[in-house]
């Protein structure tokens, strides 16, 4: 049977009583599975669309690709950290929290430690204002500052902070905000890629732009359930317009048997894939991304 993903929004008296009784009893650390009472709910969360969960790749991965392409550091493509005070709604704060996360990854990869502190503080400010406690707490900030100059550790800490934020939002049924943070980060990384491609065309960057087709489809699926909310409507319409441009991007996938090294716990995926994206499509994507982003960052 395929999974029916479950949230606990439903009000079931029996379940509630059971939970009340069990919540006060403490956990059993020796249990193999976290036993829960049966739940009969068909409600789904943002990441559970028709029994499926969608993952959006980290924007830090595209920042790595850009650095590896030989592109120089460009502060101009970032959203200035100083603008964090300009965002007044939860909608704009969430999207820009995602954007600042991508920017933070970018400046860290380029060893811009002073800029990194600025973006960390901006991300913390927006997270605090969104009520996301713990993700950017004093301990995390301190650890980040102690590791300035150690890029790998800094990036690991950024990933942990954003995962904590994601977890907190999901725990508190704020999946809409979680989706917007992902959308902001995704959009910013695509903005990086399209800008870099303009100034320094590169096959890897071109390919990465094309590869956003399926992530965009996932994002639209995640956010569409909020379409009726006024702020979301225009944003999702814009994403749909962007998806129309991506419709023409072609992929060819060829399966090849993977190889596994059990001792190293490593499987190498040998399948091949090709993408076909035209200069006109890249130009259209660039323009659309720039337009959507400018509405978000202001």
């Amino acid at each position: 049977m395929r999974l029916k993903f479950i949230t606990l929004k439903g009000s079931f008296v029996l379940l509630s009583v059971t939970a009340l009784l069990t919540a006060g009893c403490g956990g059993d650390d020796t249990a193999n599975t976290d036993e829960l009472p049966p739940v009969d709910s068909t409600q789904t969360t943002i990441l559970n669309i028709n029994g499926e969960i969608f993952s959006i790749p980290s924007p830090i991965q595209t920042a790595f690709l850009i650095k590896n392409s030989g592109a120089a550091y460009s502060k101009e493509i970032l959203n200035p950290a100083s603008k964090s005070s300009d965002y007044s709604t939860n909608f704009s704060k969430a999207l820009n929290l995602g954007i600042y996360g991508a920017d933070l990854g970018y400046v860290t990869i380029y060893d811009q430690t002073q800029d990194a502190i600025g973006y960390l503080n901006s991300a913390k400010k927006l997270a605090d204002e969104l009520g996301v406690s713990g993700a950017f707490d004093a301990k995390t900030i301190e650890r980040f500052q102690k590791n300035l100059g150690n890029k790998d550790s800094m990036l690991v800490l950024v990933g942990v902070a954003y995962r904590s934020s994601d977890s907190y939002l999901k725990n508190n049924d704020r999946n809409d905000v979680s989706g917007l943070v992902l959308a902001g980060g995704w959009l910013e990384s695509l903005y990086f890629a399209t800008n870099v491609y303009k100034t320094k065309p590169n096959e890897d960057v071109k390919r990465r732009i094309a590869e956003q087709k399926s992530s965009l489809q996932s994002l639209i699926k995640l956010l569409t359930q909020y379409y009726s909310q006024p702020e979301y409507t225009e944003f999702i319409d814009n994403l749909n317009d962007l998806a129309t441009v991506f419709d023409g991007v072609e992929f060819k996938y060829t399966y090849e048997k993977p190889t596994t090294d059990a001792e190293k716990k490593l499987t190498t995926i040998n399948s091949k894939s090709e993408v076909n994206i035209t200069p006109e499509q890249i130009e259209s994507i660039s323009q659309k991304v720039k337009s959507i982003r400018s509405q978000i960052v202001g």
Binding site: M1, T33, S58, V156, S167, P258, K265
Partner: protein, 144 residues
């Protein structure tokens, strides 16, 4: 009227308790799972989770894995390792990996040569009774 209000308050209280208990469980499992990412892999910033009611239910996680990257997928349920079976399929549903062939290893690394869309399916090990909160975490690092 009074009885109705009391019942409503009771239900609401129960709802809050359920949510709180559920969140705590998910966090506990996720924290236990996060240790498998270690400090070499950068988290993708997301925590994927689903409540599995029995071993027949399967959670599906759709993702894109970029070429030139090594990913670590950590999959956990409960506080001890080996409760969750996870399998990775490509877009044509070819099986690329399943940890059931490796004693339900709680994490595995994937070296990706070319970008692909894939599905990670997770289910409870049939040998384990009851339900469980499945948590999947994804970390990455650049392939050398």
């Amino acid at each position: 009227m009074k009885k109705g209000l009391l019942k409503l308050a009771f239900v609401l209280l129960g709802f809050i308790a359920v949510n709180s208990a559920s969140a705590q469980i998910a966090d506990t499992v996720a924290n236990a799972c996060a240790r498998h990412l270690g400090n070499q892999f950068i988290s993708d910033g997301q925590q994927y989770r689903a409540l599995l009611m029995n071993a027949d239910e399967t959670a599906e996680f759709h993702t894109t894995l970029y070429g030139g990257t090594i990913y670590r997928v950590a999959a956990c349920s409960g506080l001890s390792d080996g409760n969750l079976v996870f399998s990775v399929y490509d877009s044509e549903h070819n099986l690329l990996f399943t940890n059931s062939e490796f004693k339900n290893a709680p994490y595995w690394d994937f070296k990706i040569n070319n970008t692909l869309d894939c599905t990670i399916e997770a289910r409870l090990d049939g040998a384990q009774a009851g339900s469980g909160r499945a948590v999947v975490l994804i970390g990455f690092k650049q392939a050398k």
